[in-house]
Symmetry: C2
Subunit: 102 residues, 2 copies
């Protein structure tokens, strides 16, 4: 079998490319941690959609989640994982290449 090198354009990681999640990842890449309501404010997402998008990122291993109670109220905190950061940076590079902004 020949090793044919097909020059394919880098595909964008769709999990990150989606605007809502891109916004989340961009935020988490810049802070140590963020809680749910903070992210809701930053991203302008409804709680419902923020919840779903966050869960997808958690499932993918890009974001870690810790739930605790503060003042008897639930509080979820999110952080980007090393894999998440790597995937995010790869995405940035792929996007730049795709748009010619090498």
């Amino acid at each position: 079998m020949k090793n044919v090198t097909v020059k394919k354009p880098p595909e964008l990681n769709l999990l990150i490319h989606e605007p809502a999640r891109l916004s989340i990842m961009a935020t988490l890449a810049e802070v140590v941690a963020a809680d749910f309501m903070f992210l809701a404010g930053i991203t302008s997402l409804t709680r419902g959609n923020l919840s779903t998008h966050l869960n997808k990122l958690v499932d993918a291993g890009y974001v870690s989640e810790t739930k605790e109670f503060v003042n008897q109220k639930p509080r979820s905190e999110y952080r980007i994982t090393p894999e998440g950061r790597a995937a995010y940076q790869q995405y940035l590079a792929d996007w730049a290449r795709l748009t010619g902004r090498k």
Copy 2:
């Protein structure tokens, strides 16, 4: 009625954000014109999907299309329109802002 200024994050133009179309727009932004098959090669899209995506961009007024016959064969040529270029540059700016790459 009060003029409340809500600081909303810039929404990404989804027509352009979609990877296939982003690839098309990035290409058309750099060349004078491109025909169908050239774009198919550049973007690695199937002809079917390239056709649909191009038509969406044409419908939006971002791309212009001219069809002619060359050597008895159909040949479609595409160019970015001024509105298309403006929308593309706006998209680039919004994306940069969203990802913190101001």
